[in-house]
């Protein structure tokens, strides 16, 4: 099956290793990644508040995927949510469909509504047994998950025909691959990343509580499935940790964590932290 791997602005700009590991896993599982000829933002969480024409920007990537005969695989929660929302609106709201058709027509592109959108987690969770067969090594470390809100909610958008992905499926994926999982009370709490845009103290506090909770319950590593969670918990960790008394907690994307079981070169950021 052909897939168009859509990194989203955050992964495109800052987490190339997440995209590289996702592509490697998709290829190992028999998918055929097609080139993304022109990258365009999905609209993020921002453009929908500025104009109802944001759907045209999302539909542009859906149109490119359809032209390539590919499904879209996303790496962030917000991109997943936006593409799925636009797909539903395109099918169910004639006014939205008309608007998208006209906009894509202006750039010589079309869309017939046929592209399926999967977050990478949905693919990995469906293919746990195959991934298990591809494993070459194990980790000797305790991993905590930070759950990606927008991959799951609202269910009316994320559900689709195959049913919504779930936090439990994320846990089963890692456990099924022999990874020791740590449970902690804030596993499903929002990481706070989006709040950086309007209330930094809220964002930092959300991240601080999450890291502290994972650490207090014995986690050595935090595993994320969204570029925005990675941004707050990894790139902004110095601010989140504040007085720096605690050692840095490695934060790694689900794709790198899983790909590292197949080939350790993909888990570099995690392994370079000294945790085997």
């Amino acid at each position: 099956m052909k897939v168009l791997v859509y990194p989203g602005c955050m992964v495109l700009a800052r987490f190339q290793h997440y995209e590289a590991a996702s592509r490697m896993l998709l290829q190992q599982l028999g998918y055929e990644p097609v080139p993304l000829n022109k990258f365009s933002c999905c609209g993020a969480s921002l453009l929908p508040g500025a104009t109802d024409r944001w759907v045209n920007i999302s539909a542009y990537t859906l149109g490119l995927a359809e032209q390539a005969g590919a499904d879209i695989v996303t790496l962030c929660g917000n991109c997943t949510n936006n593409f799925k929302r636009v797909n539903i609106d395109y099918r169910e709201r004639p006014a939205v469909r008309e608007q998208i058709d006209a906009a894509l027509g202006r750039v010589s592109l079309g869309y017939a509504g046929g592209v399926r959108v999967h977050h990478i987690l949905e693919i990995l969770t469906r293919r746990t047994a195959d991934l298990k067969g591809l494993r070459r090594r194990t980790y000797n470390t305790r991993v905590a998950i930070t759950q990606p809100c927008q991959v799951y909610r609202p269910e009316t958008i994320t559900g689709g025909s195959g049913g919504a992905p779930s936090p439990e499926a994320f846990r089963r994926l890692l456990e099924g691959l022999g990874i020791e999982l740590v449970s902690y009370p804030l596993e499903a709490a929002c990481c706070g990343a989006t709040a950086l845009l309007f209330d930094e103290s809220l964002a930092i506090e959300q991240g601080r509580q999450k890291l502290a909770s994972a650490r207090a319950h014995g986690a050595d590593v935090l595993c994320a499935a969204c570029g925005n969670c990675l941004y707050l918990l990894d790139r902004q960790q110095a601010r989140v940790r504040g007085d720096q008394r605690e050692p840095r907690m490695p934060v790694i994307s689900v794709s790198e964590l899983v790909a590292g079981l197949l080939d350790e070169a993909y888990a570099t950021p995690f392994l370079s932290s000294g945790i085997p």
């Binding site: 602005c9 955050m10 495109l12 700009a13 800052r14 190339q16 290793h17 995209e19 590289a20 592509r23 080139p35 993304l36 000829n37 022109k38 990258f39 365009s40 933002c41 993020a44 969480s45 921002l46 453009l47 929908p48 508040g49 500025a50 104009t51 109802d52 024409r53 944001w54 045209n56 920007i57 542009y60 929660g77 917000n78 949510n81 608007q99 006209a102 906009a103 894509l104 202006r106 750039v107 809100c149 927008q150 909610r153 609202p154 269910e155 009316t156 709490a189 929002c190 706070g192 990343a193 989006t194 709040a195 950086l196 845009l197 309007f198 209330d199 103290s201 809220l202 506090e205 959300q206």
Partner: protein, 129 residues
Amino acid sequence: MKPERKRPSDSEQCRQCAACLDTCVVVAHGGASILSELTGDDQQGAWHCVNCWRCIERCPHGVDIYDVMMRRRRQEPVPPAIEGSIDRICRSGCALRIRDLNALRVMHGLDRLEIIDEETVNRLLAEPE
């Protein structure tokens, strides 16, 4: 001074039951979110959201909080950092500034890619004729 209380319009179907309020991290942090608007506690919260969408799942009356939020955002002042990101999306097709994109991609073994041009973004976002 606290803004005057405002009831949501009937079309928004909110019964002001406040069941959604305790799901909201913005409210828990002492801020105003769209839920503060819906429950009549504040009037300027539509942009203050981490997009966790717990509120939508909690609402017992099926209020489309996403839809209400986006409509109200178009009437409220945009926080400066958000305005900058929106402007960047409209001008460059990407919410973030990226330096040396393809050098970084090649370093990570990824294909080169181009970002959509401003003219295409403008055409996509143009007012319908």
